[in-house]
Symmetry: C2
Subunit: 436 residues, 2 copies
């Protein structure tokens, strides 16, 4: 296998007309499975060499990649894509620099593969431990952002997996150009180019097949809007690591340090509006509501955040809309905040359990017992004391990079980095032991 | 909720005629979900108290349980159940003693819930760690052995989960009698009796509904024959932790200590025939085949094990059948062994990859490099050096008890104990940190 193969695969956009999508996907699946057995055994050195080579190839092909992206953008404008989508689709020198820097960061991460935990002797005389190993073949389905192609490829490569990447049709030329750099980087390092394959057809049937071939794909990670993820979860015959809603709460307890509470509540809402770890509902303990709510409202007003409140909060804040039942469930992803006055931690936890999405929830308190209870009792992927919900993020958690945030409970929960792309097998070292 | 409720629930066998299985299962699901929020917050003390109370209740109800089992057995004989099935179904004083002892062992295990790993400071000043928490509601579907009812209940309880148990129809009276003891034990300890619910209908539609309600059930664990597990995996709308084939191999390398090799190869095959960690195919390196195969054949002959060999092994062992392609894939679960002479570790690993089930595979060798390669390269849930495959077991691994052996890669791989019934959430401890 050579770099040329990848170039031609990647430029095969338009195969959709070719009818036999299933056969095409099966070929990708077989090649990925074969590559995965090589990647599983590949030491850290060649994997890092491939990441470095991809960075060099991307640097050298910067012009081609940006030109391909221009073509995607102009087609997107012709097709009437909205501004937000065009922004996610757009690459420029700064974003290409960030992609190259991302490759260097992944290379610098410790290799999780082969790490053995807890090796210890059992009474039988065997030594038992657990070794971290790749999952095998990972299928990633994503939407417009072409830099996901490189991010996903680099994380799957470093964790010893093969991957099949299926980006959005609006980014197809950008993705093909990036895929060419990836393939050349793999070939430069002597690794199989089919360790990373970008699906070269934009036909939706390709996704249907990709999520239905457990013989070739070990796990599917969908990244994108809720409807995409729901559809894939419903139809997949392969395990899915998914991220659904982020309806995150901050609960300010009566014992809170009010300056910390103010800083956290403002940061959790206004640092970025469109992210899943942004606070969507603020819960405030009745004894501090009268003091704190006006200060908070003034701060939110400066940021242009619209407030919607329960009846008790509307008594303290003039002119805000009443929050309806739907508001408590809402993931606004916008400068809108629901506010509710509650009577203590029990009511706060009850609200979070009932309306939340088990993503990230925080308490602000100075009381030890309440901090301890909130941590133990709130069933969310991240539970925080006196910190902004915005910290729920792979980079902030030191995972180096994240392939997504899982709202599932099994396997991976919360930000998913290299470790989430691996599993552990038992290793037994003996000296001739047999079972009695 | 009182113990009486459970008694009547458990004795509601026959609801199958009642038509509305879905509504019944929904009620169980809702009750389980409600109980799981209580169980999640229940400290170790009351959980252990419930286990002790169940032991006392079972001791007190020993006569009733054995009488119920007698009724199941006599109905089973009338229905023409085979001897092996009747044996799995049968309880006697010794098995009841073992059930009571099992409860005491689970009580003695460390409580995994709330354990925090790796708490450390991040550059932002937050402290980050991962806390082990219950999965929520676990559905377990099993076949004839009534002692699974108590084992599964005790593991789910100790790991802070609620569970819904669906045993085989042939064991329904035994299961109802055991369920009554479980409910009374929970009530004695002040815990919700719906933390453990035994499905009181033997209608198969109940299983269909149980595996299709992700709103109430977080994971399904099927225990039983391959066809049951395949059907459930195919139809489930809930994650499944499953155990399929155990086609386990021992590879004896030319550098092996031949006495150890002999002991391991005999133990791995003959210690028990019907278990998933029993060796089904022996791979032997060509240079030692002529020396070792006759000794092995003599040992197997003493145990009445039928050998089926490749052409090279048949040259060394007179009168054995030729192994066909199907033999390499076979999980005999019987005193039959396939034998193949291979040329070195590469051919052995290739055979294991191609025909194995990724359950448990062992190498016998005295060469460091080969041991290291086998451990890294064989993609099975347990990989062993110089030890019998029969060690792949929750008790031998020190898990205290096992709810099954997972041949899946995600979440749990290999023997599944308390830890496999939990997940981890991130905890963040701050002092007012906000994201920059």
């Amino acid at each position: 296998m050579t770099a040329q193969v990848t170039r031609s695969d990647a430029s095969a956009v338009g195969l959709a007309d070719d009818a036999d999508i299933d056969a095409y996907m099966n070929r990708l699946g077989q090649a990925a499975r074969a590559a995965s057995t090589v990647m599983r055994r590949t030491p850290t050195g060649p994997k890092n060499a491939a990441l470095a080579a991809m960075a060099s190839r991307l640097e050298a092909a910067r012009g081609e990649v940006l030109a391909a992206n221009d073509r995607d953008l102009s087609r997107g404008r012709d097709n009437g894509l909205d501004a937000a989508l065009l922004d996610r689709l757009a690459l420029d020198d700064k974003r290409v620099d960030a992609m190259i820097e991302g490759l260097r960061q992944v290379a610098a991460l410790p290799d999780p593969v082969g790490e053995i935990d807890g090796l210890h002797y059992r009474p039988s005389g065997i030594q038992l431990g657990q070794m971290r190993v790749p999952l095998g073949v990972i299928g990633i389905i994503y939407e417009s952002r072409p830099n996901v192609t490189l991010e996903a490829a680099s994380l799957c490569l470093k964790s010893g997996n093969a991957c099949i990447l299926r980006g959005g049709s609006e980014a197809r030329e950008s993705n093909a150009a990036i895929a060419a750099c990836i393939g050349e980087g793999l070939a430069d390092a002597g690794l199989p180019v089919s360790a990373v394959q970008v699906v070269a057809t934009t036909d939706r049937a390709a996704v249907g097949r990709m999520i239905s071939m457990p013989e070739y794909v070990d796990v599917i990670i969908p990244r994108g809007g809720k409807s995409l993820i729901e559809r894939i979860s419903r139809e997949a015959k392969v395990p899915v690591i998914k991220h659904l809603d982020g309806v995150c709460h901050v609960y300010i307890d009566a014992t809170a340090d009010l300056d910390k509470a103010l800083a956290i509540a403002v940061n959790a809402k206004t640092h970025r509006y469109g992210t899943c770890n942004t606070m969507e509902t603020l819960l405030i303990d009745a004894p501090v509501a009268a003091t704190l709510l006006p200060r908070l409202a003034a701060a939110y007003a400066q940021h242009g955040v619209e407030l919607r409140g329960c009846s008790r909060s509307r008594e303290l804040l003039e002119g805000i809309l009443e929050a309806t039942e739907e508001d408590w469930y809402a993931e606004y992803l916008a400068p809108v905040l629901a506010i509710r006055v509650v009577d203590g931690i029990d009511e706060a936890i009850e609200h979070i359990e009932r309306y939340g999405s088990h993503h990230t929830d925080a308490i602000v308190t100075e009381q030890y017992g309440l901090a301890r209870r909130f941590m133990a009792e709130v069933d969310s992927s991240s539970v925080m004391v006196n910190a902004s919900t915005r910290f729920a993020d792979g980079f902030e958690y030191g995972l180096g990079a994240e392939i997504g945030i899982s709202t599932d409970k099994l396997h991976a929960r919360g930000p998913v980095g290299l470790e989430g792309l691996t599993t552990r097998k038992y290793v037994v070292l003996g000296d001739g032991q047999v079972r009695q």
